[in-house]
Symmetry: C2
Subunit: 330 residues, 2 copies
DNA sequence: GCTGTTGGTGTAAGCGCTTACACGGAGTGG
DNA sequence: CCACTCCGTGTAAGCGCTTACACCAACAGC
């Protein structure tokens, strides 16, 4: 390609390549020499070759991140937070989606390792940390976001699903509801949310409500709600995520049920559409950006030799009109 | 890091490093030698270092892609299509979001060039191709998706916004509507959709309806619809995207208007929520995955020395319940 | 039997950087 | 005025690969 290399710069500036390198990477260089070098760089339009830098120095200044699904807005936000944290320190990231396929995920890891990432951020990874270390003996420092497994050898950042679900259920309880249904989600997040739901009920001495299994999609929420409506009675439902809540709205409408008059609903995630539903959906806002940011800072810490602490971030309850006080009770 | 290099493999297999390299990259190697090498690689768990490969060969087997916003589900789908196309041929990609900030976009390009991407895929790029070539003299082959500017020196893949909008408006027309409003979108896509709307009206001999400027967000759609309702009369509205349609639903509801009885609405994009709105939203499905796939194939073609053709993909009309035939007319 | 292929392999020269080491000169203290 | 330090710089050895080139069989054709 006839690229301009560090040699051209060195020649033009009348110094050695080592000096150019030092000028660029903060080694000792006399101010005026540095100025000359910088000027030559500017004049030539020189850009260092990352590959060569990485090869020579052993540090790629990039971290690899794998998310389950590049289509989810929450993951996009996480990436944003991550990138914001990393960029400040001259790090970049390369990322791809695993589509929740463990073998695909393993292949991606291979690829990232081959690219010499200095650290890894695994979001919602299905691979247990242990299996990870085994398959990839030379695993670089890693942090997890929303891990699936139990092992926690790695710093982990996640939201407090259980507390948030507890809060959601509590809200329904405080509104006087005593028959509160739950539409369950998938994976760890789903289980934790269910646990919060159960605990809130138990703490309040209210019997467990009916539950239906969902899959985090609109369609799954729709089906679950239909099943619930057909065979159970309840005045409120805590849905494990907003997408399913959409299906719940639809099923309720089709059954002639009015939200929130006949049934109150609270969702989870606070996706963009939640505020614009009819009625606006009460839900729990996930600090996705924050999660990414924290993970990014943790990675940086790890790279600096420090040991970051795992964190559990709270969700914010966003009260809107889909929950109604059940007259008389309370 | 004590990594295993090609030398270890060569020694273990009892051949030279050149032979190992050839065995890996499809050079001439005797079958049995190749078997030995492969076995040694397996035994050692050797992974070639992409950086070194790139540096030595000059080819990185990766393409850079920049999207405007990693939070948009449509872009996620594009990436998926792209990655599916590239992976088949041993290519990978590195991608990031520009957040529609030209200076950020330029910085990203810098970074990708430094990483020696062999080609570029620019989605909704704000930088004119010309300025691009000027700022980056050594620009690798590039393809555009949803370009903003007019210049078309580069292969471009986009959807037929105008035809789709024409179709949408036509649907409203065929349903007997004669006062059809439009909520405009942003950028080229917005302008093209508006043009389709105008043309459909003109072709039908129906006077132009009221228009309000939106910004592709729920809030923008809401405000635009409010303004429209307050000062205009119309029985249908073509909204430039689904997110704004959400705001439209809300504004209509607040104004006591029923969809589709009082006002029919058609959106654009067919996001996941569209089918679950009340009433389900009639909209135009964007072939986002397909767009990514085509772009990926084009990139591969470019890299193979061929010249891919630009393509304009059609959108699919998804008729749902938000459009109602206006009694009597038609 | 000799020259001409051709397939399989090794040797070694880079690719564009970083960095250990060496070196000279200027400044310091005794 | 000498021995030290320290700073700024250059020299050169890699980093882990690819690949042009050379080389050596083995085998064909004449």
């Amino acid at each position: 390609m006839g690229r301009i290399t560090i040699y051209e710069v060195a020649k033009k500036a009348g110094v050695s390549v080592a000096t150019v390198s030092r000028a660029l990477n903060g080694g000792r260089v006399a101010p005026e020499t540095k100025a000359k070098v910088l000027e030559a760089i500017r004049a030539l339009g020189y850009r260092p070759d990352r590959m060569a830098q990485t090869l020579a120095s052993g540090k790629s200044r990039t971290v690899g991140v794998v998310i389950p699904d590049s289509t989810g807005p929450l993951y996009g936000l996480m990436l944003r937070g991550l990138s914001d944290a990393l960029l400040e320190h001259g790090y970049g990231y390369i990322g791809t989606e695993s589509r929740r396929d463990p073998s695909r995920e393993a292949a991606l890891l291979d690829e990232m390792l081959a690219r010499k990432v200095e650290a890894l951020v695994l979001v919602g990874s299905g691979i247990p940390a242990q299996a990870l270390r085994q398959r990839f003996p030379k695993l670089p420092p890693a942090v997890l976001i929303e891990r699936e497994g139990q092992e926690t050898a790695l710093p982990t950042f996640q939201i407090d699903n259980e507390a948030a679900a507890y809060r959601a259920t509590r809200l329904l309880l405080e509104a006087g509801h005593t028959r509160i249904a739950h539409i369950q989600g998938l994976r760890r997040a789903g289980r934790e949310r269910e646990r919060g739901y159960r605990r809130a009920l138990a703490d309040a001495g209210v019997p467990l409500g009916p539950m239906a299994r969902g899959d985090f999609t609109e369609e799954g929420g729709y089906r679950a709600m239909r099943a619930l409506i057909q065979s159970e009675t309840f005045t409120a439902v805590f849905v494990a995520n907003d997408r399913m809540a959409l299906g719940v709205y639809k099923a309720a409408f089709e059954a002639g049920l009015t939200i929130p008059d006949d049934v109150s609903v609270v969702g989870f995630d606070d996706l963009a559409f939640a505020a614009y539903l009819n009625p606006p959906l009460t839900t729990l806002r996930q600090p996705a950006y924050q999660l990414g940011l924290e993970a990014g800072q943790a990675v940086l810490a790890l790279l600096a030799g420090r040991t970051p602490e795992s964190k559990v971030l709270p969700c914010e309850l966003v009260a809107r009109a889909s929950v109604k006080h059940k007259g008389g009770v309370a």
